[in-house]
Amino acid sequence: MSTPLTLGALEAGPIQFDEPVWLLLIPVLWLMVLVIGRKSIAGLGRTTRWVAIGVRLLVIAMIVGAIAEPHSRKVSESVSVTFVVDESRSIPSSRKAGIDRYIEEAVQTQQKPGDLLGVVTAAEDAYVQALPSPLVKQMTRQYIGSTDATNLGEAARLGLAVAPEDAANRMVIISDGNETAGSLLAAAQAAKALGVTIDVLPVNYDYTEEVIVEDLLAPATARGGETISLRVVIYAMSPAVGRLLVTENGHPVDLDPDSDSLAYIVELDRGRNVIGVPVAPKRPGPQTYEAIFEPIGGLVQGEDGPRIVGRADTLIENNRAMAVTFVGAEGFVLVVSENADESQPLIDAMLESELRPELISADRFPSTLTELNRYEAVVLVNEPAYNFSAAAQDNLRQYVHDSGGGLVMTGGPDSFGAGGWIGSALEDVLPIRLDPPQKRQMPRGALALVMHSIEMPQGTFYGKQVARAAVDALSRLDLVGIIEFNFAGGTDWVYPISPVGDTSSAKRAINRLNFGDMPSFDPSLRMTLRDLNAIDAGQKHVIVISDGDPSLSNSILADYKAAGISISTVGVFPHSTRDFNSLRTMAKQTGGTFYPINTQQALATLPQIFIKEAQTVKRALIWEGDPFSPSIANIGAETMRGITAVPPISGYIVTADREGLSQVTMRGKENDPISAQWQYGLGRVVAFTSDATSRWGSAWVSWGSFKQFWEQHVRWAMRPSGSATLRLTTETRGDDTLVVVEAFSSSGDRLNFADFKARVAKPDGTGADVEIRQVGPGRYEGSLDSSDPGSYVVSLRYRAPGEEAGQVIEGSAQAAITRPFADEFRSLESNLALLQQVAQITGGRVLEGADPVSHDLWRREGLTMPVATTPIWLVVALFAIGLFLADVGVRRVRIEPRAIGAALGRALGASTSSAGDQIDSLKAAREKARQRISERADDREQATAKAKRRFEVDPSAHVDAGPVALGGEPLLKDKPKTQAPKPNKDDADDEGLSRLMKAKRRAQEGFDD
């Protein structure tokens, strides 16, 4: 394939041709016109001929010009300046007023009324504070978001995105240049490509009085009862004094038992100081230590000893550090259950098996992965998904996959698919599929979401999030519909009630939601009722989310009640809590639940509410019937050792087999899995879809092998502790952390050739493999990226050959790394180099001082003014057509100004005369015309005679035919011969006539011959 030959656009003054190659036709066609025209219009007079040729050339030029895609060019005169203002916490707050003043003063230097100002703020996220506009005259801040990080790159890109196309754009970045995320340099390249120059105004600072707690060093592992030594590394820019406080799992450690105070008073020298703190961990599991330095003041050596002066510290955010030590914790199992009676048989079985179960309800579930790692397995007893926050679910997933913890999930009416786990973070962790295939699914449910506007910052974000959560919680054959008020079509389905399927089309519809402000609930509730009534579903349910102010008629609620459709309502940030009345009524009268959301804290529970409510339609996944004994499917499994038959059950949650390495050990009706297990990442998971209580398993509790069954299952899932001794240390080097493992066998010899499988669980919820290599006898090392602030948990599993042939040593170990504060607070000076580079890339300036007048930000130099083009081919073509007709006119129509004047005069005269006058004048005109005709006849005779005599027309002759103007009496073809001498040879009209004469003469000559 060859690309067609193209030329760039051709600019000619205010006109631009997009396809200038066509213009080449002009000279060719002109040449043709000249050649052909010489012949065809040779009969015309000289001037007429040149005018005619000129017009034709012009017509051709215009038609070809029209083909060449002409555009009129309008060069913009406006300059738009977008300020990207760094609002992160590294910018001293004392500077902010100065920045605001700078922008306000800079606006005074705008040169034209059309000059624009826009504002984008940069922190963890970038936000547009004001779109570029001539009306914006000052810095504005509306919503800035978290200020714990700086993403200048994102802000610069946002600035480019809002840059108006019809103005020349300049960006001014006001920042210290310390970016902690994104890449400003990459954004600068994008700006360069778009022709946007970036000026930078560095915010300079240099903290001279600053104390940073750089690190808290603690051993990664310790034995119970051992005293460990913590080391606090504190860096001071100048000598200082302050209090040092250390906490263990959030409780202060008394560092100074002799005094009432819990803290040490420490004196810091300039530079790095290391302070040792001995502590004795009281309980097993991971211990989180935090060291906090509280500055008292700077220290100056005076004549009579040191004196405290000044404040010594500027940023307090960087005055803390954390560390974690794992203290051996064997046999700890966390049992999560809402009902102690339900979990009691399990707890008893575990206690009898010398495990150490700890019972909690879901609301006390550990909030961090580190806390969770205190346990070697977690047992969820009939727990629904909505009892766990998304973060807790993620932690649990990481706990299994990356930390090697065990998970046992037992059934009940609120568990598995009926407990909203479909679509949750844990779904993939389980060895069974929660969403059974069509053949096993009982009557499907139908859920309709009625979405009203959510008037709060990021309301749209939350609205979409909850809708997605609800859709995810449904199984693929359930029906879902989403309705909202849309300005373009009133109340309508964004997603008409239809099967969830793979959720992708429902989620696309959710992305399109615009959360219109519906004045009344009635149209949406009526439409929902009508469509829910028209479908076949077991359970029908509606969720309404609103601020509660649309109006509602009670009659519709009676219709819902009659149809057996429940409505649950979620009231979000109402204008007044009184607005909740209609939502409360709606739920009460139809048998739904009302959830008031009035605080930011409650807001976080929104997705849980939606998942829980979506479960209303999911009861179909529960099988209940006559008791039967599940069949044992895999007798060789470790968990089923010694168990050949199990007692009957009367209910379970319907699930399906999962592809892969999952092992189903028991099956129920139609081969549904009852019990299954597998290895997931580093951890092991057991799923038991019936329950361990008298509800569905009354015969189980009294079963002789009940203890054996559960001990084998829990112990199989638990993280193995192993017989080797590992000493783990971590060392942070810049953005990376080095993990060092020293391994000893139980007899104290160095352990070689061990095969380590290690994962790190990162603070953002993701995990990564860590490669651990042997670097010396019994010594292994690996490295991981630890650049984000937060806690990292490294988990290791190993297999090594034992001392005796065929013996295998297995085990696991863990270590934690913490980065307590954002990098935002690590920088002690501004990063001028980056800012300079950005200015250089885009051809901008590094602005010095704070004088906006001299900076002249709206100056035109260095900017390319954008050009707006409008296609004008139609206009050009129409003019060409007009001109073409004029060309014909030039040659065919005689225009005589005098005659036009006379005609106009007559016309004006006539308009003033009366009707009688008009008739008289008509008569006179008729008489005059008759006279003229007879005169012409005489003239013709004379002219013929003359022609015969001279055989040529007198070029100076003209027709005295009275005024013939445009639209007047057409000239006759056989015009009488000329009579009077013509004063001007160049008269175009006479040229035309003389041509006629010549033609006639030629004809007569031919005749005479």
């Binding site: 004001a130 779109l131 506009s133 009306l135 914006v136 005259k137 000052q138 504005t140 509306q142 300005f487 373009a488 079509g489 009133g490 219109g516 402000d517 004045p519 009344s520 009635d522 149209p523 102010d549 109006s551 008629s553 009659s555 204008h575 007044s576 009184r578 607005d579 009345n581 209609s582 139609l874 206009v875 129409l878 003019f879 057509i881 007009g882 007709l885 004029a886 014909v888 006119g889 030039v890 065919r892 129509v893 445009l966 639209g967």
Partner: protein, 365 residues
Amino acid sequence: MRALSIARCPGRALIGASVLALALSACTEDSSDGGAIDVELTLGEVGRAPGQLVFPRAMTTHDGQLIVVDKTARIQRLDASTGAFIDGLRTPELTLGKPTGLCVAAHPTDPTRTALYVADTHYHRVLVYDLDADLGDDPSQPRAPMFTFGQYGEHAAEPGEFVYPTDIAVLHDGDGRVERIYVSEYGGNDRITIFDVSVDARGAPVFEPVRTFGSFGIAGEEGADEILFNRPQSLVIDHQRKELLVCDACNHRVGRFTLDGELIAWVGSPSDLSGEPGALRFPYSLVLLEDGTVLISEFGNSRVQHMDLRTGESLGIYGEPGRGPGQLAAPWGVEVIGATAYVLDSGNDRIIAFRSPVPAAGGDR
């Protein structure tokens, strides 16, 4: 022969060509039959700087200028021909919600002065500002009103108590003195309250509720002699015909009432949400024209409809839903100054001006 004479005459040819050009290039659609509005002017843009708007929700006019309140609770006076900011203020409180109704009328006690009545919807009251004074050069600065009246009252509350007041209309006597004030409200108490204004011993106005009419309900469910409203969103007084016009928004109709609250007629068809001419969908505001017809902004149909309320006949449709030029997104208000109509294109954060089919009714303040 005729064609020949045109061909011979370049003047006519040019005129013909230009007619052809117009036919080819210009949109020949008559904008009064729906479709995008033939825009004369677009005023305002999104933002919080003076002259910018964030979802404006009510508009009125005074002295050839526009007064607009938006979702930042800023009331701004704008030049109707340029959109330039003249002056403005913010209502004293805004966390619970922002005003949704504005009305310019005589000062409650002094017919020589002009006042701005603001329905401070979510604070259950009416604010009265002095419109002869400068409102202020920073519209984000809160300013206290001259007077307020109304307070919160639950359902079936006493007259003079409001749930959510939406709009105000003021009846003037022949001398331009305030005779009565009408306030509409929604929130379960959907009704209209009529206030008499008198002056107390200290010269301050006293707003005395004299009667209310209407109650919450769905159109079609009313009994004989019952007036049901479902969010009466705006009020206009036709001084010439002595009528009170009410946009009964969620019942999709406009009511004509005597000045004492007797129903004359309902216009619109609550059950027809088809969007056909003559049908209304969430009519949020209307403005009276010289010939007694009205322009109605339809929040639900995103358009302005020209209607004759005496016959219910639709005389024209202006606008269609959308974000483009001449398109509307959930318009909350419409006003006319001279021969120019202004529609408050709330969802697009702007005001669109177009040629009104009939000039504004005269004599209004």
